[in-house]
């Protein structure tokens, strides 16, 4: 990070103004309290304060280097002590050196220089501490601003992924194609059309019922996914085969709502939509230690070259699991020559 003084023209002016004011006070004090001639007091004030103005610019760098977080630690204090002594010695020596050249032979002034040595040390120390403190405050303030900004960004991200998840629940393709199937069935098989409307309604009700963070039981999820698959089966008939291997213990497991639907939809999209031969979708669940492991497997025709690459639905599931359980290792993909498998782990909360 560059020195904040040089960040804007305005900050340079303010910096110069502050030192000009300090020089002014210094000048007045020397005239009033020490009776120095104007010219000598002006030179003394300008040389010492001007020097420190330059040194203070440089102090920024050790502060920045020492404390990127803006908090002082013990070894930092030691560093500052050493740095302070070096700065003071340099400052006093340089000032003395320049003024000696300017006023060589002015005995009265040199006496004043010697007498005021202790005051100058104090003044230098004060300047040094003030500079370090101000810089620290600045760094701290900036870190705070940055943190606020990144928090806002994070919130936006969360919101976005929630929206995406909602969108993936309501795949318009599924919805409108199902409605078209119903439209077709009203002529050929009105009874079946009615049944499909009811299934679709139940599915939509379930999808709309819960919020992003609500939990439900695996049994409910299973019931819903069977509704969904029934609807798709009406559309695709024998092209879609569903099998399940569910351990009883899984049924009461708490899982995020609508977590299965994007997985099944993905399997249908890349399996059934792209295939002309039957695709078997197998859902299995078993308890493993502190987890429930849910697997969804579908075969696909390796001859079929996929048209789409991104698997947005799975990404959404991964994001949701991350948001809910704060872990990014709960979803795994296992792609083989002729089948595709998604494995998710649902941590069991201790009751």
């Amino acid at each position: 990070m560059a020195n904040p003084i040089f960040e804007r023209k305005r900050s340079i002016y303010i910096y110069l103004l502050v030192w000009f004011l300090i020089s002014g006070i210094h000048f007045l004090a020397e005239i009033i309290f020490y009776d120095l001639p104007y010219i000598v007091a002006a030179a003394d004030s300008l040389v010492y304060n001007g020097l420190f103005a330059l040194i203070a610019v440089i102090i920024w760098y050790p502060v920045r280097y020492n404390n990127p977080e803006g908090r002082i630690k013990f070894y930092g204090l030691v560093t500052y002590l050493v740095l302070g002594i070096i700065v003071l010695l340099f400052w006093l020596f340089m000032g003395f050196f320049i003024l000696k050249i300017l006023f060589s032979g002015n005995e009265e002034y040199f006496r004043f220089l010697n007498d005021s040595f202790f005051v100058r040390v104090l003044l230098g120390a004060l300047f040094f501490i003030a500079a370090v403190l101000l810089y620290h405050l600045l760094v701290y303030y900036r870190a705070l601003q940055e943190k606020k900004l990144s928090e806002t960004k994070l919130n936006l991200l969360v919101r976005e992924s929630e929206l995406n998840a909602l969108r993936s629940q309501m795949n318009p393709h599924f919805l409108f194609n199902s409605l078209n199937s119903i439209s077709s069935l009203t002529v050929s098989n009105p009874e079946k059309a009615r049944e499909m409307i009811i299934q679709l309604s139940d599915f939509l009700r379930y999808a709309l019922k819960y919020g992003q963070h609500d939990e439900t039981t695996f049994a409910d999820e299973l019931k819903n996914i069977e509704l969904y698959l029934n609807i798709e089966k009406t559309r695709f008939e024998d092209k879609l085969v569903f099998e399940k291997k569910i351990q009883d213990i899984c049924l009461q497991a708490k899982v995020p709502n609508m977590i299965l639907q994007p997985l099944v939809e993905n399997a249908i999209k890349h399996g059934v939509y792209e295939s002309t031969t039957p695709v078997v979708i197998t859902l299995s669940c078993q308890g493993i230690g502190e987890y429930f492991e849910i697997r969804l497997k579908n075969n696909f025709d390796p001859e079929n070259k996929s048209r789409t690459g991104a698997r947005l639905g799975l990404k959404n599931v991964e994001n949701r699991l991350q948001l809910i359980y704060n872990r990014n290792d709960l979803l795994k993909i296992n792609k083989q020559e002729n089948y595709f498998e998604v494995i998710i782990l649902i941590p069991q909360k201790k009751q």
Partner: protein, 246 residues
């Protein structure tokens, strides 16, 4: 008599089309197909006057079919929901049916198709495909025709692409295919992290490049894994060096 073919992967959707078509005795269905591949073959062989074409289908989409059709009949597209397609249809005055559609809406589409067939003005494909190309982003497969055979090339099998007048030659591991598309199309539709345009006439898969060599004063060539040498233009060199991390 108008001959028609239905290319639609869902049986119920086909049933519906057939039911609506009962009102039109002069339209004769000469074939129904469940995927783009068999539909394509039938259209080229049977040369119907009209096709009902679903956009989303196994093996080949309705649009991919258009790219390789010999015989272009009047087309009525059907789709459930596809924002890209809809825009393309609207901009090019293409007949389309949004599922689910009413008998009235179907009648309108048929009326327009009849007009097209009698006037002989059915060729909308070039402009439509151009429009769809523009909206599409990164592609994952390319459909080509060689003779009467249709090939679907996954993009990850493409090694490099060479310009050939109005066509491009696509080189894969053990074959090459001519495709009627521009270099510009491939430049903007292949993943930029995998492919790079090194020359007016060449787009190369980055991972195929084994060497960048000074050829003559000021001119470079790349050597591919199989030993193929391709020229690098002055304009392409800086980007290539950047991508190869030189």
């Amino acid at each position: 008599m108008i001959t028609a073919i239905i290319v639609e992967d869902e049986k119920l959707a086909r049933d519906l089309l057939r039911d609506y078509l009962k009102d039109h005795a002069d339209i004769k269905i000469i074939g129904e197909f469940e995927d783009g591949f068999s539909g394509l073959k039938a259209i080229n062989e049977l040369k119907p006057d009209l096709i009902f074409l679903d956009v989303q289908m196994p093996k080949l989409t309705g649009f991919e079919m258009l790219e390789v059709l010999d015989h272009i009949p009047a087309i009525i597209f059907t789709t459930a929901f596809d924002q890209y397609a809809l825009k393309a249809f609207e901009h090019n005055a293409v007949d389309y049916l949004l599922k689910p559609y009413s008998r009235l809406r179907f009648l309108e589409a048929i009326k327009k198709a009849r007009e097209r067939i009698t006037s002989g003005d059915v060729n909308i494909t070039d402009k439509l495909l151009e429009h769809i190309d523009k909206q599409q982003e990164i592609i994952h497969r390319v459909v080509v025709r060689s003779g009467s055979k249709i090939h679907v090339i996954p993009v990850n099998e493409i090694r490099y692409i060479q310009a050939e007048d109005d066509y491009v030659m696509i080189f894969t591991k053990d074959s090459k295919f001519l495709k009627q598309k521009t270099m510009k199309y491939f430049e903007s539709h292949l993943a930029p992290e995998d492919f790079i345009r090194i020359h007016r006439s060449y787009i190369v898969r980055l991972s195929e490049i084994t060497q960048l060599q000074l050829y003559e004063k000021d001119s470079y060539i790349v050597i591919l894994k199989d030993g193929t040498k391709l020229p690098v233009s002055k304009g392409g060199l800086p980007e290539l060096k950047k991508m190869l991390d030189f």
